[in-house]
C-alpha cells in the first residue's frame, strides 16, 4: 500500500546557515493518526512547512500518496489539507468567502464549494457566523475556521500544526472528537502538538524529532511499553503523617492522604496492596499519572542532547 506521506533524507539549511533538518526520513501510512513531537526549534514546523510547500527544502524527497512534490506537485497538493499554527486567513473577509475562495483555488466549482462550505461550517459550529468578518471571531472559532478551510477540498491527508494551542479544554475535546471522526472516515491525520496527552490519546503512531533528527519513530503503544515504571497516585485512609514502609517500592507522600508510588513492570500491584493492607491503610481510589509519554519524551530528548554533545 502506498504511504500517505513519505519523506526521505530531507534536509533544510536556512539562509543564515542554521541546519534545521539533518536528513530525516519518515513514513506515515494511509488512515494513520500520526503525531510529530519535539521541543521548540526541533524541526517540526520546518518539516510540515516543506510538505505543505511553504518552505523550500535544501535536499531530499517528499511524496504524498506516491506523488512527488518535485515532479507531480499539483497531484500531491490536491491530497493535502493544511491547518497552520498561526491564523493565516484574510481578517477582512467573511467566513463563508474564506472557505469558498479556498475551494476555488482547488478548482472546485462555486455551487459545490458552497455546499461543502456549508457542510464543514455546520460540522464545526460556524454556520451561524458565515456572514461575519473573520477578525470578529473568537480564537477558538478562528482555529475551527482554518480546519473547515483545510477540509473543503476533501484532502486525503490533513496536516495540523499545533491545532489546539491556546484552546480551552471543552473546545479541545470537541476538536479531538471531530478529528477522530474524520480519521475514522479515512482521512490520514498528521499533527504536531506540545500536549503529549493529546498525542497519547489520539495518535496511533508517533515520531519524535530533535535538533533536526528523528530520535524515535514508532507506535504509541510500543513507545509506552518502553516505560519500565509506571507511576500511580493513591488516595489513602487514614491520613499518614509519615511515609509507610513499602518494601521494594519507590514511594513518596504528596500530602497526608496522597501516596505516589513508582511501580516497576516486574513488581505488579498485588504486593503493594497487601503491604498497605497489612498496615491497615485503605486505598480509596487510584489513578495512574497521565503524563507517561511526557516522561519518555523528556528522556529521549535528553539522551539525544547528550549524544550530540558527545559526538
Amino acid at each position: 500500500m502506498t504511504a500517505a506521506l513519505s519523506i526521505r533524507n530531507l534536509r533544510k539549511t536556512y539562509g543564515n546557515g542554521f541546519e534545521a533538518l539533518k536528513g530525516i526520513s519518515l513514513e506515515v501510512q494511509q488512515g494513520d493518526f500520526f503525531a510529530l513531537l519535539g521541543p521548540n526549534g526541533a524541526g517540526k514546523s520546518t518539516t510540515l512547512g516543506i510538505v505543505s510547500s511553504l518552505v523550500n527544502k535544501s535536499s531530499g524527497d517528499v511524496e504524498v500518496f506516491g506523488h512527488s512534490l518535485d515532479t507531480a506537485h499539483a497531484q500531491a497538493k490536491m491530497c493535502l489539507g493544511v491547518v497552520p499554527q498561526e491564523f493565516n486567513f484574510n481578517q477582512f473577509e467573511k467566513v463563508m468567502d474564506i472557505v469558498t475562495t479556498q475551494a476555488g483555488y482547488y478548482g472546485i466549482p462555486p455551487r459545490l464549494a458552497r455546499e461543502r462550505a456549508e457542510y464543514y461550517l455546520k460540522k464545526l459550529g460556524l454556520w451561524d457566523k458565515r456572514n461575519q468578518v473573520s477578525r470578529m471571531l473568537s480564537g477558538g472559532m478562528k482555529r475551527r475556521l482554518m480546519i473547515a478551510r483545510a477540509l473543503v477540498h476533501e484532502p486525503r491527508v490533513l496536516i495540523l500544526d499545533e491545532p489546539t494551542a491556546g484552546v480551552d479544554i471543552e473546545l479541545r475535546r470537541s476538536m479531538w472528537a471531530f478529528l477522530q471522526e474524520i480519521n475514522r472516515a479515512g482521512t490520514t491525520i498528521i499533527l504536531t502538538t506540545h500536549y503529549l496527552e493529546e498525542a497519547e490519546s489520539l495518535c496511533r503512531n508517533i515520531a519524535i524529532i530533535d535538533h533536526g533528527r528523528i530520535v524515535k519513530d514508532t507506535s504509541v503503544k510500543a513507545l509506552l511499553q518502553q516505560l519500565n515504571t509506571e507511576t500511580f497516585i493513591l488516595d489513602i485512609n487514614p491520613p499518614q503523617a509519615a511515609l509507610p514502609a513499602l518494601n521494594g517500592y519507590q514511594a513518596r507522600l504528596e500530602d497526608d492522604h496522597t501516596l505516589v508510588v513508582d511501580v516497576e513492570k516486574t513488581q505488579g500491584l498485588s504486593r503493594l496492596f497487601s503491604e498497605l493492607s497489612s498496615q491497615r491503610i485503605e486505598v480509596q481510589s487510584m489513578r495512574n499519572k497521565a503524563n507517561r509519554l511526557e516522561e519518555l519524551f523528556v528522556s529521549l530528548v535528553d539522551k539525544n542532547l547528550t549524544d550530540e554533545k558527545n559526538a
Partner: protein
C-alpha cells in the same frame, strides 16, 4: 489541474481581487474620481483657458487622455502592490502556496485584478471628463489595446514591488519617487515639443511618455512618438516583467523560507 479547474482557480483570484477593491471603494475608487475632477477644473478649465491650444487642440481636450492614463497607471500598480503585499503581510498568501494552482495562474489572477481596477477607474475618469469636454475616439483599437497593455505592465510592476517589499514603506517608495515624477514628466500636461531639444531627448527615455502619447493618439489622433515602436516596446517589457515575476514566484522570493 484540468483546464476547467485552472479557470475556476484563476477566476476565484480575480473575483477575490475585485471584491477587495470594491469593498474599500472609498479608498480605491472615490479618491481618483475627486482628484481627477479637481485636475479638470483647475488645469483644464481655470488655467487651461489661459493656455489656449496644445498640439492643435483645446488644452482641456489635450490633457484628458493623459489624466485618464495617469489614473490607469497609478491604480493598476497600486491595486496589485497593496493587495499582494497585504496577502504576504497577513500570511494568507499561504492559502495560495498550499494549493495546486500553477504560478502563472496566480500571477495572471492578480494582474487581471489590477487591470480591473485600473480600467475601472479609467472609465470613471473618462465619464467625469465628459462633463468638461467632448471626447471623440479617433482609433478605438489603439485606445483599448494601449489601456490594457499599460494596465497589465503596471500591474506586473506592482506585483514585483510587492514581492520585494518588506514593509508598508516599501510599497509606497516606487509610486512616490518613480511613478509620479515619470507620469508628470510623461507628457500628461504638455507636448514634449515645447521642450528644448536636449530635454526632448531625455523625455524619450521615459516609458510613460510612450503610453500617454499612444493613448492620446487613440483619442485625438496626435502623438509625439512612433506608435508602432510604443506597442513593440510595451509588449517586450510585459514579456520581461511577466517572466521575471514567474521566476520570483518559482523561487519563492519573499513568500517562502
Amino acid at each position: 489541474m484540468k483546464p476547467r479547474e485552472l479557470f475556476i482557480a484563476f477566476w476565484t483570484i480575480v473575483v477575490k481581487e475585485i471584491r477587495r477593491f470594491m469593498r474599500i471603494w472609498p479608498q480605491t475608487l472615490l479618491p481618483p474620481a475627486i482628484t481627477m475632477t479637481l485636475y479638470f477644473i483647475i488645469f483644464g478649465n481655470l488655467i487651461g483657458s489661459r493656455i489656449g491650444e496644445m498640439g492643435g487642440f483645446d488644452y482641456m481636450e489635450y490633457i484628458v487622455p493623459g489624466l485618464i492614463m495617469m489614473s490607469v497607471i497609478t491604480n493598476s500598480y497600486g491595486n496589485v502592490v497593496s493587495s499582494f503585499y497585504g496577502t504576504k503581510f497577513q500570511r494568507h498568501v499561504e492559502e495560495l502556496l498550499v494549493s495546486p494552482i500553477p504560478n502563472w495562474v496566480i500571477l495572471s489572477g492578480y494582474v487581471v485584478g489590477g487591470v480591473a481596477r485600473g480600467v475601472g477607474v479609467g472609465l470613471i475618469v473618462t465619464l467625469l471628463s465628459l462633463f468638461f469636454t467632448d471626447l471623440q475616439v479617433h482609433h478605438l483599437f489603439v485606445t483599448i489595446s494601449i489601456v490594457l497593455m499599460t494596465s497589465i505592465l503596471f500591474s506586473l510592476g506592482g506585483f514585483i514591488n510587492a514581492i520585494y517589499a518588506n514593509s508598508f514603506d516599501d510599497i509606497s517608495i516606487v509610486p512616490t519617487f518613480v511613478l509620479t515624477p515619470l507620469t508628470y514628466l510623461g507628457g500628461v500636461f504638455y507636448s514634449i515639443q515645447l521642450l528644448p531639444e536636449f530635454w526632448q531627448g531625455v523625455s524619450m527615455l521615459n516609458p510613460i511618455l510612450y503610453m500617454v502619447n499612444t493613448f492620446r493618439y487613440g483619442i485625438l489622433g496626435v502623438s509625439d512618438i512612433n506608435i508602432v515602436f510604443a506597442f513593440s516596446m510595451l509588449l517586450a517589457v510585459i514579456a520581461v516583467l511577466f517572466s521575471y515575476s514567474l521566476y520570483l514566484l518559482q523561487k519563492g522570493k519573499g513568500i517562502r523560507s
